[in-house]
Symmetry: C2
Subunit: 428 residues, 2 copies
């Protein structure tokens, strides 16, 4: 077999890592696939730009079509991101019979089914391990490792930026805005952090994980997303006092043919393994009917961790090429599932209320919960009441999201409740 | 394709789980491989024994050869354990062209290379995901997920019995012997617990993990093993005071062509992710050159978790059968490595000494360390000295195992040291 030729689309952080691994691990890779792997062409925005890696200038091009239509290229590695040109280019690459490895979560979350269908038609592989949780091989784990099991729940810390911010807030008592600014200076958060802090990035990743885990088609619009911009230091401190950490969790649950997928700041019991995943690290907790509780932990981003997953996918494509079995192992989504309604989504809740400090208020509040069939696990008054009123923390037993919304509606009408300061889902 | 027929060798805990999954998940499995999977024959020790699962008695046999020589059987699933008959039967199954899925760590640690070679010759698959860490898909992760990376270090809590005992000792302050007795009553420890508590079971699993992780041939006799039977409550309490937990860790390290693999009770910093793996849970921490720190957590044993891995391997075999590519994905061990000598194995150490309580003793002790080039990170006197002497805790900087052994030899000759109460490797 002649050497396998890669067309690399993008030479940013991850693209540079891919070059480093393919070149630095030549011998290791050749030992595994008995074929040399070569990066033949690289798409860049500006050929003349200075780079911190030595690259043969003759390999660089600013024209993606030159790469995807080059008959010598076997595999397209797409690490440029975005969903406009990437999609067009990948579909054309498949049309040309080239295999595709991509790290593009936006593309796979929005257009995964279309791309995978095209790949099957053309007998091509499309692998995308790096699109979720960087260096953690969670996609192959869901497809192969748990092929025999029925996955009931996936909980993921799949966005490093927000986990970094929440960890700093928890460990150093800093305010959200200050930590966000620091994260931006360190390059952990983007200048426009919306996609990360509002949970949209996590929602895209949960779309991919839940599709694979439940072997079903999950659409991005089915995933509800709430971010961390409203998380206060007060919430985090109260959580810690009660034995919880606040984490931005993607939560996907399945019960027979009903599923729900959401992203929200969640209070997680400190004894739960995902509660101690700190900083920019990612983790995916998977609860299978037979296997029970498992968790997979590692770097969720960064040049080398993400490149590791990209190149592992390249190795898988090359193995399939040698075996002549490309395009046959695509993910099957045979389960027909329906979204749970808010009446069917159940969890415990934490609620922090600012209330009037007078006799009878607690009874009124308890009456609201009871009349709406929400059972209370505990009520605490975390600090002494003062002139402006009192604070109450309520933790519920498991209840439906709809019932909790009805409680919130009632409290908004109740004079004794001055403010609903925060409401969190509780896990663990 | 006609239905795939399995010959199940063994109907103990794991075998029963395999039957439950294959029968209970018929539809899910058929959706993935577009073929039905059927357990055609089952080897048992006693056909007449009452069982807690409904089995067609006509499928049961007490003769393994009837199964491995049955031309209708495609895949042998070996969950009977042991290394005598299992090896003979598996080699014969391969000779007959049958694929093999096994959960047998002893067999794979001792005879893995011979079995895998035979499988390649015969074009058969041999998969053994369930042999290490039960439900955690760590073997496919090492082979496929990290195919592009160079793994530098693997640390594993791969024996649930000892982790249960150490967790109980740490959390409840109970003595080793009492917890062992309780574990035996609960069925977490065997009547003869030697293989677990002396680290032999963990050593076998580390042989498998390090062979795969380093893509090299590691022999069981190269793995040094020390168990937990000498771990005292005192050690655990001192460890906790200093911010450590005592864990039975398998540690495999690679530096270029030098490797070392060992199992020993280790003090792990509480902030390290593996330190909080408690009870019968297993975890494997993998540090790759490119991917950095990762960890994989889950149930290490038990009927359903282990059966999940076995049946995932069956699914992989069936996929390969349909693709016509069996026997080609066997693990490659192309790295030629040498064992590190004790001079080359480096780590930090914890040492607890009982010494004479008189002026000059500390200076004498410090002199021994210094003369043998072992640098001290900290010295503590954990409790007030009394008539019988004083206790000293010393934590070293990273030093060689050989140097540490020389320190121990010197202390054994030094009158001021009444007793070397314990020595632990320190990680994290």
């Amino acid at each position: 077999m002649k050497s396998v030729k890669i067309g690399l689309l993008g030479l940013g952080t991850v693209g540079t890592g891919v070059v480093r691994i393919v070149e630095g691990h030549q011998e290791d890779l050749a030992n595994q696939v008995a074929t040399s792997i070569e990066i033949a062409k690289i798409l860049v925005k500006d050929r003349t730009k200075a780079r911190n890696i030595a690259i043969d200038a003759a390999k660089l091009t600013e024209d993606p079509w030159e790469i995807v239509r080059d008959p010598n290229i076997d595999i397209i590695v797409e690490v440029m991101g975005g969903i406009g040109q990437s999609k067009e280019v990948i579909l054309e690459a498949l049309e040309q019979g080239k295999h595709v490895v991509t790290a593009n979560k936006d593309l796979m979350a929005l257009h995964g089914p279309e791309i995978l269908t095209k790949a099957r038609e053309k007998g091509c592989d499309v692998f995308y391990e790096a699109s979720v949780a960087g260096g953690i091989p969670i996609i192959r784990t869901l497809i192969e490792g748990f092929s025999s099991d029925r996955i009931k729940k996936i909980m993921g810390i799949v966005n490093g930026t927000t986990n970094y911010i929440l960890t700093k807030m928890s460990q150093e008592g800093a305010a959200y805005a200050d930590v966000l600014k620091e994260a931006q200076e360190l390059g952990y958060a983007e200048a426009d952090p919306t996609s990360d802090v509002e949970g949209l990035d996590a929602a895209r990743k949960m779309t991919i994980l839940s599709s694979l885990g439940f072997r079903s088609k999950v659409d991005l619009e089915d995933v509800t997303a709430k971010g961390i911009s409203a998380v206060t230091q007060e919430d985090i401190q109260y959580a810690k006092k009660l034995g919880y950490e606040v984490k931005l969790l993607g939560i996907a649950e399945r019960q027979d043919d009903l599923i729900s997928v959401s992203v929200q700041p969640t209070m997680v019991k400190q004894s739960h393994p995902i509660a101690s995943v700190n900083g920019v690290f990612n983790a995916v907790y998977v609860h299978g009917e037979a296997v029970g509780e498992t968790m997979f932990y590692g770097a969720g981003a960064g040049e080398m961790p993400t490149a590791t997953s990209v190149v592992a996918d390249v190795v898988a494509v090359v193995k399939n090429m040698k075996l002549g079995v490309n395009g046959r192992q695509a993910h099957v989504s045979y389960n027909v599932t329906k979204q749970k309604t808010d009446e069917q989504i159940a969890s415990k809740y934490f609620m922090l209320l600012h209330v009037e400090d007078r006799a009878g208020v607690l009874a009124q509040i308890a009456q609201v919960f009871s009349s709406l069939d929400v059972s209370i696990e505990s009520v605490m008054q975390p600090s002494a009441p003062n002139r402006s009123g009192a604070e109450l923390i309520i933790i519920t037993h498991s209840t439906s999201k709809a019932a909790m919304n009805r409680v919130i509606d009632e409290f908004e009408k109740l004079a004794a409740v001055q403010k609903i300061k925060s409401v969190y889902r509780v896990e663990g």
